[in-house]
Amino acid sequence: MATMNMIQALNSAMDVMLTKNPDVLIFGEDVGFFGGVFRATDGLQKKHGVQRCFDSPIGEAGIVATAIGMGAYGLRPVIEIQFADYIYPAYDQLVSAAARLRYRSAGDFSAPITLRSPYGGGIFGGQTHSQSPEALFTHVCGLKTVIPSNPYDAKGLLISAIEDDDPVMFFEPKRIYNGPFDGHHDRAVTPWSKHPASDVPDTYYTVPLGKAAIVREGSDLTVLSYGTMVHVSLAAALEAGIDAEIVDLRTLMPVDIETITQSIEKTGRCVIVHEATRTSGYGAELSALVQENCFYHLEAPIERVAGWDTPYPHAFEWQYFPGPGRVADAMRRVMEA
C-alpha cells in the first residue's frame, strides 16, 4: 500500500499491466521518453523498454487506428490522447471502427483498446484544454465510458478497462490529478495524501466497470455525478446543509441503473452535475433515465447543473465552471420545490 495521487495511481496501473501482460503496450504523443505532458507514463519506457511505451506522431486518428489494428491482431494497446479536446480527429475511427468491429464481424474481430485522455477544466486551459466530451461517446453503442474521481478508483478502473474486451474511453479529470478539488479555486489545494482514496495498493487489483459508488449516503436528495464534480457536489451539500446522497457513477456506459434507481426511490429528488455543456450532455440521458425509471417517486423536477452552452472561456474559468455555489443553489431549489 502506498499513498498515491491520481497520476501516480494511473502510472501504477499501467506499470502493473505492462508487467503482467506482454500484449499490453502504450503509445501516444510525448508518452515515451518524456512520460507524457501530465507525466502519467513517467518512467514506463525506461522500465519496460522502448517498444512497450513510445511516442507517436501527432495524429490522433492514427493513434486510434493503429491501436484498433493491434487490437485486431490480439494486443491490448493503451493509448493516450494528450487532451480530450484533441480527440475529434480520431472520432471516425472510434465511432465507425472501434465501436462497430465486434458487431459488424459477428464477433470475428474486436478492438480491446483503452483510450486514456485528460479532460475537463479548471486549469486555465482555455477552450481547447478544458472540454468534457463524454456525451459524444455515451451515444455511441459499442463504446464504454469510464471516469474515475480518485486515485484508488483510477487505478482499479484503469486495470479493468485494459482487461476489458471492448473499447473503453477512459477520461481522467485533470483538475484532480494532484488533489480532490472541490471547486473553491480561491482556497488552498488539498493534496490527495489527505484523502483516504489515496491509499492505493502497489499491486494488481480491479474496480469493476459498470458499478457506481455511493460516496456519501443521504436522504434529502440524490446527486448523480462523476469525476471532479463528485468533489464539488460533496462540498456543495456540506455548504448547503443538505443531506444529499452522492453517487459517483464511475462508469457512464454502461451506467449502474440499479444504484441510481435505488437512491432516487429513497430520496425522491435528484440533481445531476457535470462540467460538460448542458444541452445534449450526459446529464440529459441521466435525467431521462431517472424520469423513466422513478417517475412516481419524484417529488421535484430533476435539476441539471452543467457547463454553460458556450466554449470554455479562458478568463472566465470560474464563471463558467459549475462550482459549489451553483450546485448548492440547485440543491436548494430541488429541496424547496
Partner: protein, 410 residues
C-alpha cells in the same frame, strides 16, 4: 499598388463524357519489361522513376519480359486463372441476383480480378489482408466457401455475419481477411497497426491493405503512410487506381497532378506503379514488397493502374457520367484474357481447356447459389434469430440492451 491579374479557380474535368468517343491515347503504354527492378533495400527516393512509370511483364506477344519476371510455376498460373474466372462468374451471378431482388446491393470487380487473385498467390496464406469491397478475389483464392459469401450477400439464416452487414462486407479472421467497413479508408491505417503488432510480437506474418484511388483523399491514407514510414511497419499498401470513384474520375483525387504511387516517395516509402491487368507483374511487385517487409525494411506502396469495367455498384449507371464502351478501349486489356493467352503461348493451356474451365466454374457457382438460396434470400424471412440483433454490441450484453431485447419480446 501591384497590378495583379485576377485569380481563377481550376476544377478538374475528365477528358470525355457520355456521347464522346472512348479514347485513351493520352496514356503512354510502356512496353513490358522496360522498367528496372531495384534491390529490395532501395531507398524511397531511388524508386522515384518507377513510381511515375509502369511495371509490366506480360507483353503484346503474351510472353514474359524483363527483370520483373517473377518465374511463377504453371500450376500457380493455372490456379490464378481459375480464381479469376470464379471471381468474375461469381460477380455476374450475384449482380443478377440483386437485379432479381434477392438482395439489396452488389459490387463487382470486373477487370480488376488480377489484383486480388495474384496478390493472394504472392502472399503467404497466413499474411493478413485489410481489403476494400473489390478484393473478393482474396477470399476466393484463399478457399473461403463461395456459398458462405452468398449467404452473407443474402443476409440469410446461414449468413456468417448474422444479417448485420450490407452485402459483400465479408469478414473472416480464419482466412486473414479483415472485416470490410462501409466507411472508406479507415482500415488502411488499421492495417499499419496490425503490421506493427506483428513486428512487436516478433511474428513473421506481414500485412497488406488496399484502397481505391478516390479514397486516397481521406486522411486515413496519410495516417497510414505516416505511421508505416515512422515505425517501418511490415505492410504492403496497395492503391487500386481504377480511374473512377463512383462518378468522379481520378483527377478529382489528384490523379491529374501526379501518380498515386508518387505519394509514397515523399513519406520515405518505396513505391511501385504496376499494370493492374497484368497477373505476372502484380505477382512480381507483391513478392518484392513482401520480401522487403519480411526483411524488416518496412512498407511499400503499390499503385495498381487499372480500369473499373462496370458501374460502381448496383446503385449507379456509369453511362450517365462516362462514355459507354470506354472499358473496351482500355489499352491494357483484360486480365483473364491476358493470362489465358500467356498460358496458351507457353503451350500449357488451350481454348478448349478454357471453355471447360468456364463451364465447370459456372456450374460450381450455380450449385453454390442454389445451396445458398435454400437458406434464404433477403426478405424471404429466412433469417438468423432476431435475438442475435442485440448481441455483439459488447462482449457481454449490458442491462439496457437486454431491456430493449425484452421490450421487443425476443
Amino acid at each position: 499598388m501591384k497590378n495583379r491579374a485576377p485569380l481563377s479557380l481550376h476544377i478538374p474535368e475528365p477528358r470525355l463524357r457520355p456521347g464522346d468517343q472512348p479514347d485513351f491515347s493520352h496514356i503512354k503504354v510502356l512496353k513490358a519489361g522496360e522498367v528496372r527492378r531495384p534491390d529490395i533495400n532501395v531507398t524511397a527516393k531511388n524508386t522515384t522513376d518507377i513510381a511515375y512509370s509502369l511495371v509490366r511483364v506480360l507483353g503484346e506477344d503474351d510472353k514474359v519480359h524483363g527483370p520483373w519476371d517473377p518465374h511463377v510455376d504453371v500450376e500457380t498460373l493455372k490456379r490464378g486463372l481459375r480464381n479469376m474466372v470464379v471471381t468474375r462468374t461469381f460477380d455476374d451471378r450475384m449482380y443478377r441476383a440483386q437485379r432479381q431482388g434477392k438482395t439489396s446491393f452488389y459490387m463487382k470487380c470486373t477487370g480488376e480480378e488480377a489484383i486480388a487473385v495474384s496478390q493472394a498467390a504472392a502472399l503467404d496464406p497466413e499474411d493478413m489482408c485489410f481489403p476494400t469491397y473489390r478484393q473478393q478475389g482474396l477470399l476466393i483464392s484463399r478457399g473461403y466457401p463461395i456459398v458462405d459469401m452468398m449467404n452473407q450477400i443474402y443476409s440469410n439464416e446461414r449468413d456468417p455475419l448474422k444479417g448485420r452487414q450490407l452485402p459483400i462486407m465479408y469478414s473472416s479472421k480464419k482466412h486473414g481477411f479483415f472485416s470490410i467497413a462501409g466507411n472508406l479508408a479507415m482500415h488502411y491505417s488499421q492495417a499499419v497497426g496490425w503490421a506493427m503488432a506483428s513486428a512487436y510480437k516478433g511474428d513473421d506474418r506481414i500485412c497488406a491493405a488496399w484502397i481505391g484511388d478516390g479514397s486516397t483523399a481521406e486522411g486515413d491514407f496519410h495516417t497510414a503512410l505516416t505511421f508505416a514510414a515512422v515505425y517501418r511497419a511490415p505492410v504492403i499498401l496497395n492503391v487500386v487506381n481504377n480511374q473512377w470513384a463512383i462518378s468522379s474520375y481520378q483527377g478529382i483525387a489528384g490523379g491529374d497532378e501526379s501518380t498515386f504511387a508518387a505519394r509514397g516517395i515523399g513519406y520515405g516509402i518505396p513505391a511501385l506503379r504496376v499494370d493492374g491487368n497484368d497477373f505476372l507483374a502484380i505477382y512480381a511487385v507483391t513478392k518484392w514488397a513482401a520480401d522487403r517487409a519480411h526483411a524488416n525494411l518496412g512498407p511499400t506502396l503499390i499503385e495498381h493502374f487499372t480500369y473499373r469495367v462496370e458501374g460502381h455498384s448496383t446503385s449507379d449507371d456509369p453511362n450517365r457520367y462516362r462514355p459507354a464502351e470506354e472499358a473496351k478501349a482500355w489499352p491494357f486489356g483484360d486480365p483473364i484474357n491476358r493470362l489465358k493467352k500467356h498460358l496458351i503461348a507457353l503451350g500449357k493451356w488451350s481454348e478448349a481447356e478454357q471453355a471447360a474451365l468456364e463451364k465447370a466454374v459456372d456450374e460450381e457457382v450455380r450449385a453454390a447459389q442454389k445451396e445458398a438460396e435454400s437458406h434464404g434470400t433477403l426478405g424471404s424471412g429466412k433469417l438468423p434469430s432476431v435475438r442475435t440483433m442485440f448481441e455483439d454490441v459488447y462482449k457481454e450484453m449490458p442491462w439496457h440492451i437486454r431491456r430493449q431485447r425484452q421490450e421487443m419480446g425476443v
